[in-house]
């Protein structure tokens, strides 16, 4: 008798049959997930309540009072147009967070669809999708963003389209791999024997079970999207001014780093902490799911 689920310890087989309902899954999440969730929640709250939290209009310029040092009125000083840096940092969450999340979610959706089609239908669909993936993967992101910024103009739309066009590959590979694995599992065979339609099998039996793996990857992609957005802003291809955005704020503040070091440093730290929060969630989930 072979038991393919048998791991080195024979209790693992029991583990897989253990009564792990959803509630317990959450209860047993490592502390780091809660820390990460707390961090991300704070950022989300900041984004949602930025208008209430911000002491000033983030766009209100006051060139006479530019590059001011921190004071009671401007807790983090002002930028080169005299705008309140703190308010801009808070409002920037409204740009960076959605783009970070969407920049990871949209490629996930596209990658999931393409990966699922490739894995499930195989043959030329597979060849087409995966060879395209190879090419996209070999392609420098910078060029693509430039082309898209040319074609669609600067802004969130171009950035998101670029992320989607670039980052779907990873998801497609994961999903394809999972679909190929699941396609050969007995419950899919059972569905086929039962005469269920291919699309129904894909939708109801294959995809829901394949998607877990991508969820693990999602947090690190959110971090990546946030960082990439910052990098594109740094190169002048990101969100157009004056919309506050952390990466652009770093780039704008950078020339003044010798005199007003906080201008570039603090948005950087804010990105780091956000990335840390998201990564902690990701790591925690991965630990929980993979042991």
């Amino acid at each position: 008798m072979t038991d393919p689920t048998a791991l080195p310890l024979d209790l693992s087989a029991a583990d897989s049959q253990g009564p792990l309902d959803d509630r317990k899954f959450w209860q047993r999440l490592p502390v780091k997930v809660w820390v990460g969730l707390a961090i991300v929640l704070i950022y989300v709250l900041i984004a949602v309540f930025a208008p209430l939290l911000a002491p000033h209009d983030p766009l209100a310029i006051d060139p006479a009072n530019k590059l001011a040092s921190p004071t009671g009125d401007h807790l983090l000083g002002t930028d080169e147009l005299g705008r309140d840096v703190l308010s801009r940092l808070l409002y920037a969450a409204r740009v960076d967070l959605p783009i970070g999340f969407l920049g990871a979610l949209m490629p996930m959706v596209l990658g999931t669809i393409l990966g699922a089609l490739a894995g499930f239908y195989g043959r030329w669909t597979d060849t087409l999708v995966m060879r395209t993936a190879d090419v996209v993967q070999a392609f420098p992101a910078y060029i693509l963003v430039i082309v898209l910024v040319f074609a669609l103009g600067q802004g969130a739309k171009s950035i998101l389209v670029a992320f989607t066009v670039l980052a779907w590959v990873v998801y497609a590979r994961i999903i394809r791999g999972e679909v190929l694995r699941i396609r050969d599992l007995d419950y899919v065979h059972a569905a086929r024997v039962a005469g269920l339609g291919r699309l129904r099998i894909l939708r109801a039996h294959v995809l829901p079970n394949a998607i877990n793996q991508t969820l693990i990857y999602l947090p690190s992609d959110i971090v990546f999207a946030t960082l990439a957005l910052a990098a594109f802003s740094f190169l002048g291809l990101g969100i157009p001014p004056p919309t506050p955005e952390w990466g652009a704020m770093i780039a704008e503040g950078q020339p003044f780093i010798r005199t007003n070091w906080w201008l570039a440093t603090i948005p950087g730290l804010i990105i780091v902490v956000f990335g840390l929060g998201v990564s902690l969630i990701g790591e925690g989930f991965e630990e929980r799911l993979h042991g």
């Binding site: 072979t2 689920t5 253990g18 309902d21 007995d186 065979h189 086929r192 024997v193 005469g195 039996h205």
Partner: protein, 324 residues
């Protein structure tokens, strides 16, 4: 009487490796013949066991009948109608399968109820408003508490999952039920109830059952008739009673000798069959069992013995069958 399920000259081959690479090298395109020209029939209500070791093609045979793997040549017909490559939903319904591995045979993201209800709905087995009731009936049928309808597979034990697997197959009210190593992955203490359930359902529902297993004892317990397979061939096809009383093919005999038995101590160095089965890509000439057969003679190397005998269900493929 015409046979209910008729398998005729069935051959299933798989392509292994790259055909392009082989052509470039001038080699023949490598095909693995998993099931090689098998013919047999099953009567309505009969329980047929198929036994053999890994790689003998028994699972491929089962999957070919359910339509999971394409047939290379030969035909399958059910109740006079062909079971071809393209099957209508209604035809598919008639042959259902219970799978081996309870950990992978149920969709982990679906509750038992959704698993069953989906089939009832898609095949319109019962009116919509009867679906819940029918699910409950199916649970009764496989002797599971209805409370488990809301459960997901991961909170079920192996035995319970296998019962759900059976319920799923029965939901479509099939004529033929194929059980592929249905208890192999279960704990010993749980095997027997599942086997009993299958026996019982066969009687109650008048199912035709094909039971596929590597375990002689299990096959004997559930089958009226047994086909022994070796390397894609059927080497013996006899009624269970006859087969176990007087196995004719040397391979059948060896299998029986090799199976562990209570109260028999193994002698040092002793084994019932020498060597290992040859690669399916590089089959010996003549009788496939010949390199390991204690009785092999020259003719076995030259002529592949036919599966033949006194009747359709009394056949052996051996030049020197044991006459007990």
């Amino acid at each position: 009487m015409t046979a209910f399920l008729e398998i005729k000259d069935l051959t299933v081959t798989f392509r292994v490796g790259s055909a392009i690479a082989a052509r470039l090298k001038g080699d023949p395109v490598p095909d693995l013949v998993a099931v090689d020209d098998i013919t047999f029939t099953v009567d309505r209500g009969e329980s047929l066991g198929i036994v053999g070791e890994s790689g003998c093609g028994k699972s491929t045979l089962a999957r070919a009948i359910t339509g999971l793997v394409p047939v290379t040549s030969g035909s399958i017909s059910l109740d006079g109608g062909p079971l071809g490559k393209r099957r209508s939903k209604a035809t598919r319904r008639r042959v259902q399968m219970v799978f081996q591995d309870p950990s992978s045979s149920l969709n982990p993201s679906m509750t038992v109820e959704r698993t069953l209800a989906e089939l009832l709905r898609v095949h319109k087995i019962v009116p919509r408003d009867r679906i819940d009731a029918r699910c409950a009936e199916l649970m009764d049928l496989v002797e599971l508490p209805k409370s488990l309808l809301k459960a997901r597979p991961r909170s079920l034990s192996g035995g319970q999952r296998q019962r759900v697997g059976i319920a799923r197959a029965l939901a479509l009210e099939p004529d033929v039920l194929i059980a592929d190593e249905a208890v192999a992955a279960l704990d010993v203490s749980v095997q027997a109830p599942v086997l009993n359930l299958l026996n019982q359902l066969r009687e109650e529902l008048g199912l035709t059952v094909m039971f596929i297993s590597h375990d002689l004892a299990v096959v004997r317990y559930v089958s009226d008739r047994v086909i022994v397979m070796y390397l894609g061939n059927a080497v013996e096809d006899r009624s269970t009673v006859d087969l176990f009383e007087s196995p004719r093919h040397p391979y059948t005999r060896a299998l029986m000798a090799a199976a562990p038995k209570f109260g028999v101590k193994k002698a040092p160095g002793e084994s019932a069959i020498k060597g290992e089965p040859p690669s399916a890509l590089d089959l010996p000439s003549g009788c496939r069992f010949r390199p390991r057969c204690p009785l092999a003679e020259e003719i076995c190397e030259q002529v592949e013995p036919d599966l033949s005998g006194a009747s359709e269900t009394e056949r052996t493929a051996c030049h020197f069958p044991w006459e007990g």
